[in-house]
Amino acid sequence: MRITGKETFGPSRLKKDSMKILVCVKQVADSESHFEISQDGKNIVCRAPTSYRINSYDEYAIEEALLAAEGSPGSSVEVISIGPDRVKEALRRALSMGAAEAHHLLVEDADLLTPESRARIIADFAAGRSYDLIFTGVMSEDRGGSAVGPMTAELLGMPLATHVMALSIDEENKSIQVEREIDGTRRHQLRLPMPALLTVQSGINRPRYPSLSNVLRAKAQEIPGLLPGGEARPGDFLTRKLTLPPDTRRGVLLQEDSNSMADKLLEYLHSISIL
């Protein structure tokens, strides 16, 4: 049975040389929090600052990067995030999970950037910094299009695998073997030379909780705001408006005591001859 990278390839993440790894991290509004659509209809706005957290797919990406780095001593994991000042919190979370360095690219209205613009900013930053591996999440949970990772790979000329569910690094050959998800029962298998870019699917690992020592280190660490480079073609993909989705069925919503709801559901199932 294959569940995660570890099960598939055994515990041998043994490598010789050190690696430089970059993880792209997005801060997203928590979908369980109270939100509004902005006046111009283009943004999701949460009033409470605690409504923002790290994109959950990126936590899997960070964990995978940390596991890879732990397998080859001397390796380091860096994280990058594009966004307003509040995204420093997401970067600090990544540092407290064990990343060594954080880069904040300051863009106030980052949610309005196209995936291509975000990819250009990341690629511009990463070019010439000789990363062996770049990880992104498979998708950003807020308005994700699963596009920033693949576009970044294209801009950097790196081989790419998305929806990665298992990964083994062969440091000597400077290559990696991945399994990427096709559906619940099938996976593609690929071998890629490094440097490469991988987008990580949920369930590949169990993201760790921050350790106390890392939390303390992360608190003290400076995260300077950098100005982004990397010009995009302007406006080939624009949010026109955000709305609440329409009800496609006019069903009934029951909000009463459990006992009477159970009666009504039972009655309904009788009426459609299921029970």
């Binding site: 049975m1 294959r2 995936p115 291509e116 990819a119 949970e141 807020d142 308005r143 994700g144 299009g145 699963s146 596009a147 693949p150 576009m151 294209e154 081989p159 790419l160 695998a161 998305t162 929806h163 399994e179 990427r180 998800e181 096709i182 619940g184 029962t185 099938r186 593609h188 298998q189 690929l190 071998r191 890629l192 949920s202 369930g203 080939d236 993909f237 624009l238 949010t239 026109r240 408006k241 955000l242 709305t243 609440l244 989705p245 009800d247 069925r249 069903g251 009934v252 919503l253 029951l254 459990s258 709801m261 159970a262 009666d263 009504k264 559901l265 039972l266 459609i272 299921i274 029970l275």
Partner: protein, 333 residues
């Protein structure tokens, strides 16, 4: 920019997917009244076996780029094969499947060929200078309308368009085109099967009881099994979130990257209703969510919605039904 729409034939190792037919349906809906031509592009080491059937039934002319290097899928080889073709043909619109293959190659292919790129659309319309695409984002809570400048590449969610066979259509042709492929860095290998068989009963089940993250833990799964046990032909499925938590196996995942089900009754327990999940179950005849958050998007497609906690509602409901003595099957423990 020409007046053509190209659909990217979606095939896994030569097996053409249902999604390919949906793309043809979407292309038709856009082409209508706009005077646009529709073609399909595939890329493999051979012409996929069912290509003739696809072209005949959809009426779309299919071109298959052929090179031995395309035997097993990799983004690199696929993009290297298709990009020169599109740079030469300059399509107005390319439609791809938003699945494990389409998500993998589409954004980079768009970038390389100078197409604007929008992913995961559920509807697409042609306007004067742009396309209007609609998609559901943020765990199903928000609908986003996008302007996508022409020419563009757009990937469509599985199930977004439905294909209906039309007997009167002029059959399309199939053309194989041998191409050169530059040596790639990626070495693709044959795909592997994981957990075959698990969740296989889902497609035949009359009643699907599906678990989401809101089920909370394996203890509460007994309540869902008890519920499923009340119906003679039932099966248990789940969201990806539930699979990641180990509540159900990945083979029983319902949705965009899992199974597509359309039972008579779908009971969604602790499921928010993300676009990726809805894609796999929206054609169920009757949909009954149980979720304690009245704003959960899953309620928007409900026939009857129960706003309650799983651990409170299910014991009462299960007890009521089994107390009736109406069922032959005992709830499993």
């Amino acid at each position: 920019m020409t007046n053509s729409i190209f659909i990217m034939l979606d095939h896994e190792e030569g097996t053409i997917s249902a999604h390919s037919y949906e793309l043809a349906a979407a292309a038709r809906s856009i082409a209508e009244g706009e005077g646009l031509s529709i073609m399909a592009l595939g890329a493999w080491n051979d012409v996929p076996p069912e290509s003739g059937k696809f072209a005949r039934e959809t009426g779309v002319d299919l071109i298959v780029l052929v090179n031995p290097g395309l035997r097993h899928y990799s983004a690199e080889a696929y993009i290297n094969a298709c990009a020169p073709f599109f740079i030469e043909r300059r399509p107005l619109l390319v439609l791809g499947a938003h699945n494990a293959r389409g998500c993998d190659f589409a954004p980079a292919l768009a970038l390389r060929t100078g197409l604007a790129c929008a992913t995961g659309a559920e509807e697409i319309f042609a306007e004067k200078d742009a396309f209007r695409a609609v998609r559901t984002i943020w765990h199903g809570k928000v609908r986003e309308e996008l302007t996508v400048v022409k020419p563009a590449l757009v990937t469509l969610m599985p199930g977004a368009y439905s294909y209906e066979k039309n007997g009167n259509i002029r059959p399309g042709s199939v053309t194989a085109m041998a191409i050169d492929l530059p040596p790639g860095k990626t070495s693709p290998m044959p795909p592997i099967s994981t957990r075959t068989g698990e969740g296989a009963g889902l497609s035949e089940a009359e009643v699907v009881v599906a678990a989401g993250r809101g089920v909370g833990g394996t203890d509460n799964m007994a309540l869902l099994r008890g519920l499923a046990g009340l119906f003679p032909r039932s099966a248990i499925g789940g969201t990806r979130g539930a699979c990641d938590m180990g509540l159900v196996s990945y083979g029983a995942q319902v949705g965009m990257t899992g199974r597509t089900v359309s039972p008579r009754l779908y009971i969604a327990c602790g499921i928010s209703g993300s676009a990726q999940h809805i894609a796999g179950m929206k054609n169920s005849r009757h949909i009954v969510p149980v979720n304690h958050d009245p704003d959960a998007p899953i309620f928007r497609i409900a026939d009857i919605g129960i706003v309650d906690k799983i651990e409170r509602f299910l014991p009462i409901f299960n007890e009521k039904v089994s107390g009736q003595g109406k069922t032959s099957d005992e709830p499993q423990k």
